[in-house]
Symmetry: C2
Protein backbone atom coordinates (compact mmCIF):
# COMPACT_ATOMS: atom_id res chain seq x y z
CA UNK A 1 0.00 0.00 0.00
CA UNK A 2 1.52 3.34 -1.01
CA UNK A 3 1.67 6.14 1.55
CA UNK A 4 -0.75 8.92 0.55
CA UNK A 5 1.19 11.93 -0.74
CA UNK A 6 1.22 14.91 1.61
CA UNK A 7 0.63 18.07 -0.39
CA UNK A 8 3.76 20.28 -0.51
CA UNK A 9 3.05 24.01 -0.03
CA UNK A 10 5.56 26.88 -0.12
CA UNK A 11 5.17 30.00 2.02
CA UNK A 12 6.71 33.28 0.87
CA UNK A 13 8.47 35.60 1.16
CA UNK A 14 9.63 35.44 4.77
CA UNK A 15 12.34 32.96 5.82
CA UNK A 16 11.35 31.51 8.22
CA UNK A 17 7.67 32.02 7.34
CA UNK A 18 5.29 33.38 10.01
CA UNK A 19 4.65 30.56 12.50
CA UNK A 20 0.88 31.07 12.17
CA UNK A 21 1.00 30.36 8.43
CA UNK A 22 3.20 27.32 8.89
CA UNK A 23 0.73 26.02 11.48
CA UNK A 24 -2.14 26.74 9.08
CA UNK A 25 -0.54 24.63 6.34
CA UNK A 26 0.18 21.76 8.74
CA UNK A 27 -3.32 21.87 10.21
CA UNK A 28 -4.71 21.48 6.70
CA UNK A 29 -2.81 18.19 6.43
CA UNK A 30 -0.21 19.56 4.01
CA UNK A 31 3.52 20.16 4.51
CA UNK A 32 5.72 23.22 4.07
CA UNK A 33 8.15 22.83 1.16
CA UNK A 34 10.63 24.98 -0.78
CA UNK A 35 9.18 26.78 -3.79
CA UNK A 36 10.99 24.43 -6.21
CA UNK A 37 9.19 21.40 -4.77
CA UNK A 38 5.81 22.88 -3.83
CA UNK A 39 2.50 22.59 -5.66
CA UNK A 40 1.17 25.82 -4.13
CA UNK A 41 2.48 29.15 -2.87
CA UNK A 42 1.01 31.00 0.11
CA UNK A 43 2.13 34.62 -0.31
CA UNK A 44 2.08 36.86 2.74
CA UNK A 45 4.22 39.66 1.35
CA UNK A 46 3.72 42.67 -0.87
CA UNK A 47 3.49 43.14 -4.62
CA UNK A 48 7.05 44.41 -5.14
CA UNK A 49 8.60 41.27 -3.61
CA UNK A 50 6.44 38.82 -5.58
CA UNK A 51 8.65 36.50 -7.69
CA UNK A 52 8.80 37.55 -11.33
CA UNK A 53 9.04 33.89 -12.33
CA UNK A 54 7.34 30.89 -10.70
CA UNK A 55 8.48 27.29 -11.24
CA UNK A 56 6.21 25.05 -13.36
CA UNK A 57 5.38 22.90 -10.32
CA UNK A 58 3.30 25.74 -8.81
CA UNK A 59 -0.40 25.23 -9.58
CA UNK A 60 -1.97 27.71 -7.18
CA UNK A 61 -1.06 31.01 -5.47
CA UNK A 62 -2.88 32.39 -2.42
CA UNK A 63 -2.61 36.19 -2.23
CA UNK A 64 -2.85 38.00 1.14
CA UNK A 65 -5.29 40.80 0.18
CA UNK A 66 -9.09 40.74 0.12
CA UNK A 67 -9.23 43.22 -2.79
CA UNK A 68 -6.67 42.43 -5.49
CA UNK A 69 -7.04 45.39 -7.86
CA UNK A 70 -3.42 46.42 -7.16
CA UNK A 71 -2.18 42.93 -8.02
CA UNK A 72 -3.96 43.19 -11.34
CA UNK A 73 -2.52 46.66 -11.93
CA UNK A 74 0.92 45.09 -11.40
CA UNK A 75 0.03 42.39 -13.95
CA UNK A 76 0.71 39.51 -11.58
CA UNK A 77 -2.27 37.17 -12.16
CA UNK A 78 -2.10 37.93 -15.90
CA UNK A 79 1.63 37.09 -16.10
CA UNK A 80 1.05 33.61 -14.62
CA UNK A 81 -1.97 32.66 -16.66
CA UNK A 82 -1.56 28.90 -16.20
CA UNK A 83 -1.64 29.26 -12.38
CA UNK A 84 -4.79 29.64 -10.28
CA UNK A 85 -4.86 32.64 -7.94
CA UNK A 86 -7.07 33.14 -4.89
CA UNK A 87 -7.53 36.29 -2.81
CA UNK A 88 -8.26 36.64 0.90
CA UNK A 89 -11.81 37.89 0.18
CA UNK A 90 -14.05 36.91 3.10
CA UNK A 91 -11.13 36.15 5.43
CA UNK A 92 -11.58 39.32 7.45
CA UNK A 93 -15.37 39.21 7.55
CA UNK A 94 -15.63 37.46 10.93
CA UNK A 95 -13.82 40.26 12.77
CA UNK A 96 -16.03 42.92 11.22
CA UNK A 97 -19.16 40.86 11.98
CA UNK A 98 -18.07 40.46 15.62
CA UNK A 99 -17.60 44.24 15.81
CA UNK A 100 -21.10 44.81 14.40
CA UNK A 101 -22.53 42.43 17.00
CA UNK A 102 -20.60 44.17 19.80
CA UNK A 103 -22.01 47.58 18.81
CA UNK A 104 -25.55 46.24 18.37
CA UNK A 105 -25.57 44.47 21.74
CA UNK A 106 -23.99 47.48 23.47
CA UNK A 107 -26.77 49.63 22.07
CA UNK A 108 -29.64 47.28 22.86
CA UNK A 109 -28.30 46.74 26.42
CA UNK A 110 -27.94 50.55 26.91
CA UNK A 111 -24.22 50.31 27.69
CA UNK A 112 -23.30 53.83 26.48
CA UNK A 113 -25.54 55.42 29.13
CA UNK A 114 -24.44 52.88 31.76
CA UNK A 115 -20.82 53.87 31.09
CA UNK A 116 -21.62 57.50 31.88
CA UNK A 117 -23.36 56.66 35.17
CA UNK A 118 -21.64 57.55 38.44
CA UNK A 119 -24.31 56.14 40.73
CA UNK A 120 -26.68 53.14 40.99
CA UNK A 121 -29.61 54.20 38.78
CA UNK A 122 -31.48 50.89 38.53
CA UNK A 123 -35.01 52.31 38.24
CA UNK A 124 -33.89 54.82 35.58
CA UNK A 125 -32.17 52.14 33.55
CA UNK A 126 -34.65 49.25 33.82
CA UNK A 127 -36.99 50.48 31.03
CA UNK A 128 -34.08 50.99 28.63
CA UNK A 129 -32.41 47.59 28.87
CA UNK A 130 -33.75 45.66 25.90
CA UNK A 131 -33.03 42.29 24.30
CA UNK A 132 -32.37 40.96 20.82
CA UNK A 133 -34.52 37.92 21.66
CA UNK A 134 -37.64 37.84 19.52
CA UNK A 135 -36.47 40.87 17.53
CA UNK A 136 -35.95 41.12 13.78
CA UNK A 137 -32.53 42.17 12.56
CA UNK A 138 -32.30 43.13 8.88
CA UNK A 139 -28.83 42.75 7.40
CA UNK A 140 -28.47 44.75 4.21
CA UNK A 141 -25.82 42.93 2.18
CA UNK A 142 -25.24 39.20 2.32
CA UNK A 143 -21.56 39.09 1.39
CA UNK A 144 -18.85 37.78 3.66
CA UNK A 145 -19.66 40.08 6.60
CA UNK A 146 -23.42 39.52 6.45
CA UNK A 147 -23.00 35.75 6.16
CA UNK A 148 -20.54 35.74 9.08
CA UNK A 149 -22.93 37.77 11.24
CA UNK A 150 -25.99 35.56 10.77
CA UNK A 151 -24.72 32.58 12.82
CA UNK A 152 -23.73 35.00 15.59
CA UNK A 153 -27.24 36.48 15.77
CA UNK A 154 -29.32 33.29 15.62
CA UNK A 155 -28.40 31.89 19.08
CA UNK A 156 -29.61 35.17 20.59
CA UNK A 157 -33.14 34.30 19.47
CA UNK A 158 -33.33 36.92 16.73
CA UNK A 159 -35.18 36.61 13.48
CA UNK A 160 -32.77 37.51 10.68
CA UNK A 161 -33.70 38.98 7.31
CA UNK A 162 -30.81 39.04 4.82
CA UNK A 163 -31.10 41.46 1.93
CA UNK A 164 -29.17 40.69 -1.23
CA UNK A 165 -29.36 41.72 -4.88
CA UNK A 166 -31.13 38.65 -6.23
CA UNK A 167 -33.33 37.50 -3.36
CA UNK A 168 -31.92 33.97 -3.77
CA UNK A 169 -31.81 32.34 -0.33
CA UNK A 170 -28.58 33.03 1.53
CA UNK A 171 -26.77 29.85 2.50
CA UNK A 172 -23.59 29.04 4.37
CA UNK A 173 -22.25 27.48 7.55
CA UNK A 174 -24.54 28.16 10.51
CA UNK A 175 -27.24 29.82 8.40
CA UNK A 176 -30.52 28.15 9.36
CA UNK A 177 -33.56 27.84 7.12
CA UNK A 178 -35.39 30.29 9.38
CA UNK A 179 -33.30 33.09 7.89
CA UNK A 180 -35.36 35.04 5.36
CA UNK A 181 -33.74 36.40 2.21
CA UNK A 182 -35.31 39.38 0.47
CA UNK A 183 -34.21 41.09 -2.75
CA UNK A 184 -32.90 44.64 -2.39
CA UNK A 185 -35.71 45.73 -4.72
CA UNK A 186 -38.16 44.97 -1.89
CA UNK A 187 -36.15 46.61 0.90
CA UNK A 188 -38.82 49.30 1.29
CA UNK A 189 -41.34 46.73 2.51
CA UNK A 190 -39.08 45.54 5.30
CA UNK A 191 -38.77 48.65 7.47
CA UNK A 192 -42.10 48.21 9.23
CA UNK A 193 -41.08 44.81 10.54
CA UNK A 194 -37.41 45.59 11.20
CA UNK A 195 -36.24 46.19 14.75
CA UNK A 196 -32.56 46.77 14.00
CA UNK A 197 -30.52 47.24 10.80
CA UNK A 198 -26.98 46.23 10.00
CA UNK A 199 -25.53 47.78 6.86
CA UNK A 200 -22.97 45.46 5.26
CA UNK A 201 -23.39 46.11 1.53
CA UNK A 202 -20.79 47.34 -0.97
CA UNK A 203 -20.68 51.03 -1.85
CA UNK A 204 -22.06 51.52 -5.35
CA UNK A 205 -24.12 54.20 -7.08
CA UNK A 206 -27.18 52.11 -6.16
CA UNK A 207 -26.41 51.89 -2.43
CA UNK A 208 -25.50 55.55 -1.82
CA UNK A 209 -27.79 56.93 0.94
CA UNK A 210 -29.61 53.60 1.08
CA UNK A 211 -30.58 54.66 4.62
CA UNK A 212 -31.94 58.20 4.50
CA UNK A 213 -34.56 60.31 6.23
CA UNK A 214 -37.47 58.23 4.88
CA UNK A 215 -36.02 54.87 5.94
CA UNK A 216 -35.04 56.19 9.38
CA UNK A 217 -38.54 57.57 9.93
CA UNK A 218 -39.98 54.09 9.43
CA UNK A 219 -37.83 52.50 12.13
CA UNK A 220 -38.70 52.62 15.83
CA UNK A 221 -37.48 54.72 18.77
CA UNK A 222 -35.74 51.56 20.02
CA UNK A 223 -34.07 50.67 16.71
CA UNK A 224 -30.30 50.59 16.36
CA UNK A 225 -28.62 51.18 13.01
CA UNK A 226 -25.17 49.61 12.59
CA UNK A 227 -22.84 50.44 9.69
CA UNK A 228 -19.73 48.36 9.08
CA UNK A 229 -19.67 48.80 5.28
CA UNK A 230 -19.03 52.29 3.89
CA UNK A 231 -20.10 55.66 5.28
CA UNK A 232 -21.83 56.73 2.07
CA UNK A 233 -24.57 54.10 2.48
CA UNK A 234 -26.17 56.26 5.19
CA UNK A 235 -27.24 59.89 4.80
CA UNK A 236 -25.26 61.32 7.71
CA UNK A 237 -27.37 64.46 8.14
CA UNK A 238 -30.58 62.43 8.28
CA UNK A 239 -28.96 60.04 10.76
CA UNK A 240 -27.82 62.88 13.04
CA UNK A 241 -31.36 64.29 13.01
CA UNK A 242 -32.90 60.88 13.84
CA UNK A 243 -30.44 60.33 16.68
CA UNK A 244 -30.97 63.80 18.12
CA UNK A 245 -34.78 63.58 18.00
CA UNK A 246 -34.95 60.05 19.37
CA UNK A 247 -36.65 58.80 16.19
CA UNK A 248 -34.30 55.82 16.46
CA UNK A 249 -32.57 54.33 19.49
CA UNK A 250 -29.01 54.76 18.33
CA UNK A 251 -26.30 54.09 15.79
CA UNK A 252 -23.08 52.08 15.83
CA UNK A 253 -20.72 53.26 13.11
CA UNK A 254 -17.36 51.81 12.17
CA UNK A 255 -17.47 53.87 8.98
CA UNK A 256 -18.64 57.43 8.50
CA UNK A 257 -19.30 60.01 5.81
CA UNK A 258 -17.13 62.06 5.84
CA UNK A 259 -14.33 59.75 6.91
CA UNK A 260 -12.33 60.37 8.98
CA UNK A 261 -15.08 62.07 10.96
CA UNK A 262 -13.86 65.63 11.70
CA UNK A 263 -13.45 66.92 15.25
CA UNK A 264 -16.55 68.75 16.42
CA UNK A 265 -18.92 66.66 14.26
CA UNK A 266 -22.24 66.07 16.10
CA UNK A 267 -21.74 62.27 15.96
CA UNK A 268 -18.90 62.62 18.47
CA UNK A 269 -21.19 64.08 21.12
CA UNK A 270 -24.56 62.40 20.53
CA UNK A 271 -25.08 60.11 23.54
CA UNK A 272 -26.70 57.39 21.43
CA UNK A 273 -23.94 57.13 18.82
CA UNK A 274 -21.06 54.66 19.06
CA UNK A 275 -18.31 55.66 16.64
CA UNK A 276 -15.29 53.42 16.06
CA UNK A 277 -12.68 54.78 13.61
CA UNK A 278 -12.84 52.03 10.94
CA UNK A 279 -10.93 49.71 13.27
CA UNK A 280 -13.20 46.62 13.19
CA UNK A 281 -10.48 44.73 11.31
CA UNK A 282 -7.28 46.01 12.94
CA UNK A 283 -3.84 45.07 11.54
CA UNK A 284 -2.87 42.75 14.41
CA UNK A 285 -5.92 40.53 13.82
CA UNK A 286 -5.35 40.22 10.08
CA UNK A 287 -2.56 37.61 10.10
CA UNK A 288 -4.64 35.28 12.29
CA UNK A 289 -7.64 35.67 10.02
CA UNK A 290 -5.48 35.12 6.93
CA UNK A 291 -4.06 31.95 8.54
CA UNK A 292 -7.59 30.57 9.03
CA UNK A 293 -8.34 31.31 5.39
CA UNK A 294 -5.06 29.65 4.27
CA UNK A 295 -5.82 26.56 6.32
CA UNK A 296 -9.26 26.20 4.76
CA UNK A 297 -7.96 26.77 1.24
CA UNK A 298 -4.95 24.43 1.54
CA UNK A 299 -7.28 21.66 2.76
CA UNK A 300 -9.54 22.31 -0.25
CA UNK A 301 -6.57 22.36 -2.64
CA UNK A 302 -5.14 19.10 -1.27
CA UNK A 303 -8.56 17.46 -1.60
CA UNK A 304 -9.05 18.77 -5.13
CA UNK A 305 -12.08 20.76 -3.98
CA UNK A 306 -13.20 24.21 -5.13
CA UNK A 307 -11.03 26.99 -3.68
CA UNK A 308 -12.37 29.93 -1.69
CA UNK A 309 -12.16 33.41 -3.26
CA UNK A 310 -10.83 32.50 -6.72
CA UNK A 311 -9.42 35.45 -8.64
CA UNK A 312 -10.98 35.69 -12.06
CA UNK A 313 -8.55 37.11 -14.58
CA UNK A 314 -11.32 37.84 -17.09
CA UNK A 315 -13.35 39.89 -14.59
CA UNK A 316 -10.33 41.58 -13.06
CA UNK A 317 -11.07 40.68 -9.40
Amino acid sequence: MSRPEICPVAIGPAVPPPALLEKAVLEAGARVAPLAEARALIWSGGIAEFPSELPVNIEWVQLPAAGVEDWFDAGIPQRHSSIRFTSAAGAFAASVAEHALAMLLAGVRYLPEHLRATRWRQQDFFPHVATLRGKTVTIVGAGGIGRALIPMLLPLGTHVIAVNRTGHPVTGPGIAETVETVSAAHLGKLWSRTDHVVVAAPATVHTRHLIGADELSRLQPSSWVINVARGSLIDTNALVAALASGAIGGAGLDVTDPEPLPEGHPLWSLPNAIVTPHDSNPPQLRLGAFADHVSANVARFAAGAQLLAPVEVERGY
Copy 2:
Protein backbone atom coordinates in the same frame (compact mmCIF):
# COMPACT_ATOMS: atom_id res chain seq x y z
CA MET B 1 -60.67 8.09 14.15
CA SER B 2 -61.16 10.16 17.28
CA ARG B 3 -59.92 13.74 17.32
CA PRO B 4 -56.88 14.07 19.60
CA GLU B 5 -57.81 15.90 22.80
CA ILE B 6 -56.41 19.44 23.02
CA CYS B 7 -54.96 19.97 26.46
CA PRO B 8 -57.01 22.52 28.49
CA VAL B 9 -54.89 24.99 30.47
CA ALA B 10 -56.10 27.76 32.81
CA ILE B 11 -54.27 31.06 33.21
CA GLY B 12 -54.59 33.04 36.43
CA PRO B 13 -55.29 35.37 38.04
CA ALA B 14 -55.88 38.11 35.43
CA VAL B 15 -59.14 38.20 33.47
CA PRO B 16 -58.46 38.43 30.60
CA PRO B 17 -55.04 36.83 31.00
CA PRO B 18 -51.97 38.56 29.52
CA ALA B 19 -52.08 38.12 25.74
CA LEU B 20 -48.51 36.82 25.75
CA LEU B 21 -49.41 33.92 28.06
CA GLU B 22 -52.52 33.08 26.08
CA LYS B 23 -50.37 33.00 22.93
CA ALA B 24 -47.81 30.83 24.73
CA VAL B 25 -50.46 28.25 25.62
CA LEU B 26 -51.86 28.22 22.08
CA GLU B 27 -48.41 27.94 20.53
CA ALA B 28 -47.78 24.87 22.65
CA GLY B 29 -50.80 23.26 20.97
CA ALA B 30 -53.02 23.53 24.06
CA ARG B 31 -56.14 25.64 24.67
CA VAL B 32 -57.05 28.18 27.35
CA ALA B 33 -59.83 26.90 29.63
CA PRO B 34 -61.57 27.95 32.86
CA LEU B 35 -59.99 26.59 36.04
CA ALA B 36 -62.87 24.14 36.56
CA GLU B 37 -62.15 22.44 33.22
CA ALA B 38 -58.39 22.77 32.99
CA ARG B 39 -55.70 20.16 33.63
CA ALA B 40 -53.06 22.78 34.39
CA LEU B 41 -52.83 26.28 35.86
CA ILE B 42 -50.37 28.90 34.64
CA TRP B 43 -50.10 31.40 37.49
CA SER B 44 -48.76 34.88 36.68
CA GLY B 45 -49.87 36.56 39.90
CA GLY B 46 -48.59 36.88 43.44
CA ILE B 47 -48.73 34.63 46.47
CA ALA B 48 -51.57 36.46 48.23
CA GLU B 49 -53.96 36.01 45.31
CA PHE B 50 -53.20 32.29 44.81
CA PRO B 51 -56.39 30.20 45.18
CA SER B 52 -56.62 28.54 48.60
CA GLU B 53 -58.39 25.57 46.97
CA LEU B 54 -57.73 24.06 43.56
CA PRO B 55 -60.20 21.78 41.76
CA VAL B 56 -59.28 18.08 41.51
CA ASN B 57 -58.89 18.36 37.73
CA ILE B 58 -55.72 20.43 38.14
CA GLU B 59 -52.63 18.22 37.80
CA TRP B 60 -49.90 20.83 37.39
CA VAL B 61 -49.26 24.45 38.45
CA GLN B 62 -46.65 26.67 36.82
CA LEU B 63 -45.43 29.40 39.23
CA PRO B 64 -44.05 32.70 37.88
CA ALA B 65 -40.90 32.98 40.05
CA ALA B 66 -37.44 31.49 39.46
CA GLY B 67 -36.80 31.16 43.20
CA VAL B 68 -39.83 29.80 45.08
CA GLU B 69 -38.71 30.06 48.73
CA ASP B 70 -41.53 32.55 49.42
CA TRP B 71 -44.09 30.16 47.96
CA PHE B 72 -42.86 27.46 50.33
CA ASP B 73 -42.96 29.89 53.26
CA ALA B 74 -46.62 30.51 52.37
CA GLY B 75 -47.17 26.72 52.34
CA ILE B 76 -48.53 26.64 48.80
CA PRO B 77 -46.79 23.61 47.24
CA GLN B 78 -47.19 21.70 50.53
CA ARG B 79 -50.94 22.41 50.71
CA HIS B 80 -51.52 20.91 47.23
CA SER B 81 -49.39 17.83 47.64
CA SER B 82 -51.11 15.83 44.89
CA ILE B 83 -50.35 18.55 42.32
CA ARG B 84 -47.03 18.98 40.53
CA PHE B 85 -45.51 22.46 40.75
CA THR B 86 -42.88 23.98 38.49
CA SER B 87 -40.98 27.23 38.95
CA ALA B 88 -39.65 29.64 36.33
CA ALA B 89 -36.05 28.65 37.12
CA GLY B 90 -33.96 29.10 33.98
CA ALA B 91 -36.59 31.22 32.24
CA PHE B 92 -34.70 34.44 32.79
CA ALA B 93 -31.25 33.01 32.08
CA ALA B 94 -31.17 33.99 28.41
CA SER B 95 -31.51 37.71 29.16
CA VAL B 96 -28.72 37.60 31.72
CA ALA B 97 -26.51 35.59 29.34
CA GLU B 98 -27.12 38.13 26.57
CA HIS B 99 -26.11 40.90 28.98
CA ALA B 100 -22.91 39.04 29.87
CA LEU B 101 -22.09 38.66 26.16
CA ALA B 102 -22.79 42.36 25.55
CA MET B 103 -20.38 43.42 28.32
CA LEU B 104 -17.70 40.93 27.23
CA LEU B 105 -17.84 42.00 23.58
CA ALA B 106 -17.92 45.68 24.53
CA GLY B 107 -14.78 45.14 26.56
CA VAL B 108 -12.91 43.06 23.99
CA ARG B 109 -13.80 45.54 21.24
CA TYR B 110 -12.65 48.48 23.43
CA LEU B 111 -16.02 50.23 23.25
CA PRO B 112 -15.75 52.08 26.60
CA GLU B 113 -12.70 54.03 25.37
CA HIS B 114 -14.27 54.51 21.92
CA LEU B 115 -17.31 56.06 23.59
CA ARG B 116 -15.11 58.66 25.28
CA ALA B 117 -13.35 59.64 22.05
CA THR B 118 -14.11 63.01 20.47
CA ARG B 119 -11.85 62.62 17.44
CA TRP B 120 -10.75 59.95 14.94
CA ARG B 121 -8.00 58.09 16.81
CA GLN B 122 -7.55 55.08 14.54
CA GLN B 123 -3.82 54.49 15.16
CA ASP B 124 -4.32 54.79 18.95
CA PHE B 125 -7.19 52.33 18.94
CA PHE B 126 -5.93 49.71 16.46
CA PRO B 127 -3.76 47.80 18.98
CA HIS B 128 -6.60 47.64 21.53
CA VAL B 129 -9.36 46.20 19.35
CA ALA B 130 -9.29 42.47 20.08
CA THR B 131 -11.43 39.49 19.14
CA LEU B 132 -13.05 36.57 20.93
CA ARG B 133 -12.08 34.32 17.98
CA GLY B 134 -9.58 31.71 19.06
CA LYS B 135 -9.82 32.82 22.69
CA THR B 136 -10.75 30.70 25.69
CA VAL B 137 -13.69 31.86 27.81
CA THR B 138 -14.08 30.15 31.17
CA ILE B 139 -17.62 30.20 32.52
CA VAL B 140 -17.70 29.55 36.26
CA GLY B 141 -21.11 28.01 36.94
CA ALA B 142 -23.00 25.88 34.46
CA GLY B 143 -26.55 26.57 35.62
CA GLY B 144 -29.18 28.22 33.46
CA ILE B 145 -27.14 31.34 32.70
CA GLY B 146 -23.93 29.49 31.89
CA ARG B 147 -25.75 27.00 29.68
CA ALA B 148 -27.57 29.83 27.87
CA LEU B 149 -24.31 31.69 27.29
CA ILE B 150 -22.38 28.80 25.72
CA PRO B 151 -24.34 28.67 22.43
CA MET B 152 -23.96 32.46 22.14
CA LEU B 153 -20.16 32.22 22.46
CA LEU B 154 -19.46 29.26 20.16
CA PRO B 155 -20.31 30.96 16.82
CA LEU B 156 -17.76 33.66 17.70
CA GLY B 157 -15.03 31.04 17.41
CA THR B 158 -14.28 30.89 21.14
CA HIS B 159 -13.18 27.84 23.06
CA VAL B 160 -15.48 27.49 26.08
CA ILE B 161 -14.59 25.88 29.40
CA ALA B 162 -17.58 25.36 31.69
CA VAL B 163 -16.85 24.91 35.38
CA ASN B 164 -19.38 23.04 37.49
CA ARG B 165 -19.36 21.25 40.83
CA THR B 166 -19.08 17.70 39.52
CA GLY B 167 -17.07 18.03 36.33
CA HIS B 168 -19.73 15.96 34.52
CA PRO B 169 -19.93 17.21 30.92
CA VAL B 170 -22.37 20.08 30.50
CA THR B 171 -25.04 19.32 27.94
CA GLY B 172 -27.97 21.22 26.50
CA PRO B 173 -29.29 22.77 23.31
CA GLY B 174 -26.52 24.35 21.25
CA ILE B 175 -23.74 23.01 23.51
CA ALA B 176 -21.21 21.34 21.20
CA GLU B 177 -18.87 18.53 22.20
CA THR B 178 -15.95 20.94 21.88
CA VAL B 179 -17.05 22.56 25.15
CA GLU B 180 -14.81 21.39 27.99
CA THR B 181 -16.27 20.82 31.44
CA VAL B 182 -13.99 21.03 34.47
CA SER B 183 -14.84 20.45 38.12
CA ALA B 184 -14.67 23.49 40.41
CA ALA B 185 -12.02 21.62 42.41
CA HIS B 186 -9.64 22.07 39.46
CA LEU B 187 -10.47 25.73 38.79
CA GLY B 188 -6.96 26.76 39.89
CA LYS B 189 -5.43 24.93 36.93
CA LEU B 190 -7.53 26.84 34.42
CA TRP B 191 -6.33 30.40 34.91
CA SER B 192 -3.17 30.05 32.84
CA ARG B 193 -5.17 29.05 29.77
CA THR B 194 -8.14 31.37 30.34
CA ASP B 195 -8.45 34.54 28.28
CA HIS B 196 -11.73 35.80 29.77
CA VAL B 197 -13.89 34.76 32.73
CA VAL B 198 -17.65 34.90 33.18
CA VAL B 199 -18.86 34.37 36.74
CA ALA B 200 -22.32 32.76 36.77
CA ALA B 201 -22.25 30.57 39.89
CA PRO B 202 -24.55 30.71 42.93
CA ALA B 203 -23.42 32.59 46.03
CA THR B 204 -22.48 30.08 48.72
CA VAL B 205 -19.85 29.91 51.46
CA HIS B 206 -17.69 28.02 48.95
CA THR B 207 -17.93 30.61 46.17
CA ARG B 208 -17.30 33.74 48.26
CA HIS B 209 -14.28 35.61 46.80
CA LEU B 210 -13.83 32.85 44.23
CA ILE B 211 -12.03 35.50 42.19
CA GLY B 212 -9.49 37.25 44.40
CA ALA B 213 -6.02 38.77 44.12
CA ASP B 214 -4.34 35.45 43.33
CA GLU B 215 -6.75 34.49 40.55
CA LEU B 216 -6.65 37.98 39.02
CA SER B 217 -2.84 37.96 39.02
CA ARG B 218 -2.89 34.81 36.88
CA LEU B 219 -5.04 36.35 34.15
CA GLN B 220 -3.64 38.53 31.37
CA PRO B 221 -3.54 42.31 30.76
CA SER B 222 -6.13 41.72 28.02
CA SER B 223 -8.49 39.57 30.12
CA TRP B 224 -12.03 40.69 30.89
CA VAL B 225 -13.86 39.49 33.99
CA ILE B 226 -17.64 39.47 33.78
CA ASN B 227 -19.91 38.97 36.81
CA VAL B 228 -23.63 38.38 36.34
CA ALA B 229 -24.08 36.19 39.45
CA ARG B 230 -23.59 37.79 42.86
CA GLY B 231 -21.15 40.50 43.90
CA SER B 232 -19.65 38.44 46.73
CA LEU B 233 -18.05 35.98 44.27
CA ILE B 234 -15.39 38.57 43.48
CA ASP B 235 -13.11 40.29 46.00
CA THR B 236 -13.96 43.89 45.08
CA ASN B 237 -10.78 45.43 46.53
CA ALA B 238 -8.59 42.99 44.60
CA LEU B 239 -10.59 43.69 41.43
CA VAL B 240 -10.24 47.46 41.79
CA ALA B 241 -6.47 47.04 42.24
CA ALA B 242 -6.20 44.78 39.15
CA LEU B 243 -8.25 47.21 37.05
CA ALA B 244 -6.26 50.23 38.22
CA SER B 245 -2.87 48.59 37.59
CA GLY B 246 -3.83 47.13 34.22
CA ALA B 247 -3.19 43.58 35.48
CA ILE B 248 -6.42 42.69 33.67
CA GLY B 249 -8.10 44.34 30.70
CA GLY B 250 -11.37 45.20 32.36
CA ALA B 251 -14.49 44.09 34.20
CA GLY B 252 -18.18 44.01 33.31
CA LEU B 253 -20.29 43.86 36.46
CA ASP B 254 -24.06 43.55 36.69
CA VAL B 255 -23.67 42.75 40.39
CA THR B 256 -21.34 44.32 42.91
CA ASP B 257 -20.18 44.00 46.50
CA PRO B 258 -21.39 46.15 48.17
CA GLU B 259 -24.66 46.39 46.25
CA PRO B 260 -25.98 48.92 45.44
CA LEU B 261 -22.53 50.30 44.68
CA PRO B 262 -22.21 53.57 46.67
CA GLU B 263 -21.58 56.91 44.98
CA GLY B 264 -17.89 57.73 44.85
CA HIS B 265 -16.82 54.05 44.69
CA PRO B 266 -13.71 53.63 42.47
CA LEU B 267 -15.60 51.23 40.15
CA TRP B 268 -17.70 54.19 38.95
CA SER B 269 -14.66 56.04 37.64
CA LEU B 270 -12.28 53.29 36.45
CA PRO B 271 -12.22 53.59 32.64
CA ASN B 272 -12.06 49.81 32.16
CA ALA B 273 -15.07 48.95 34.33
CA ILE B 274 -18.58 48.57 32.94
CA VAL B 275 -21.11 48.66 35.79
CA THR B 276 -24.78 47.93 35.18
CA PRO B 277 -27.03 48.17 38.27
CA HIS B 278 -28.29 44.56 38.41
CA ASP B 279 -30.55 45.27 35.45
CA SER B 280 -29.64 42.38 33.15
CA ASN B 281 -33.11 40.91 33.67
CA PRO B 282 -35.33 44.01 33.78
CA PRO B 283 -39.04 43.76 34.70
CA GLN B 284 -40.35 44.52 31.21
CA LEU B 285 -38.49 41.53 29.74
CA ARG B 286 -39.68 39.07 32.37
CA LEU B 287 -43.20 38.43 31.04
CA GLY B 288 -41.84 37.60 27.59
CA ALA B 289 -39.28 35.23 29.06
CA PHE B 290 -41.92 33.65 31.31
CA ALA B 291 -44.17 33.16 28.27
CA ASP B 292 -41.39 31.28 26.45
CA HIS B 293 -40.95 29.07 29.51
CA VAL B 294 -44.73 28.48 29.74
CA SER B 295 -44.91 27.52 26.10
CA ALA B 296 -42.11 24.98 26.47
CA ASN B 297 -43.61 23.52 29.65
CA VAL B 298 -47.19 23.32 28.35
CA ALA B 299 -45.92 21.44 25.27
CA ARG B 300 -44.05 19.05 27.57
CA PHE B 301 -47.08 18.60 29.83
CA ALA B 302 -49.42 17.91 26.91
CA ALA B 303 -46.95 15.35 25.55
CA GLY B 304 -46.54 13.69 28.94
CA ALA B 305 -42.86 14.61 28.93
CA GLN B 306 -40.68 15.70 31.86
CA LEU B 307 -41.42 19.27 32.95
CA LEU B 308 -38.79 22.02 33.20
CA ALA B 309 -37.90 23.32 36.68
CA PRO B 310 -39.95 20.93 38.85
CA VAL B 311 -40.41 22.15 42.42
CA GLU B 312 -39.34 19.46 44.87
CA VAL B 313 -41.39 19.66 48.03
CA GLU B 314 -38.91 17.46 49.91
CA ARG B 315 -35.93 19.69 49.09
CA GLY B 316 -37.87 22.93 49.51
CA TYR B 317 -37.00 24.44 46.10
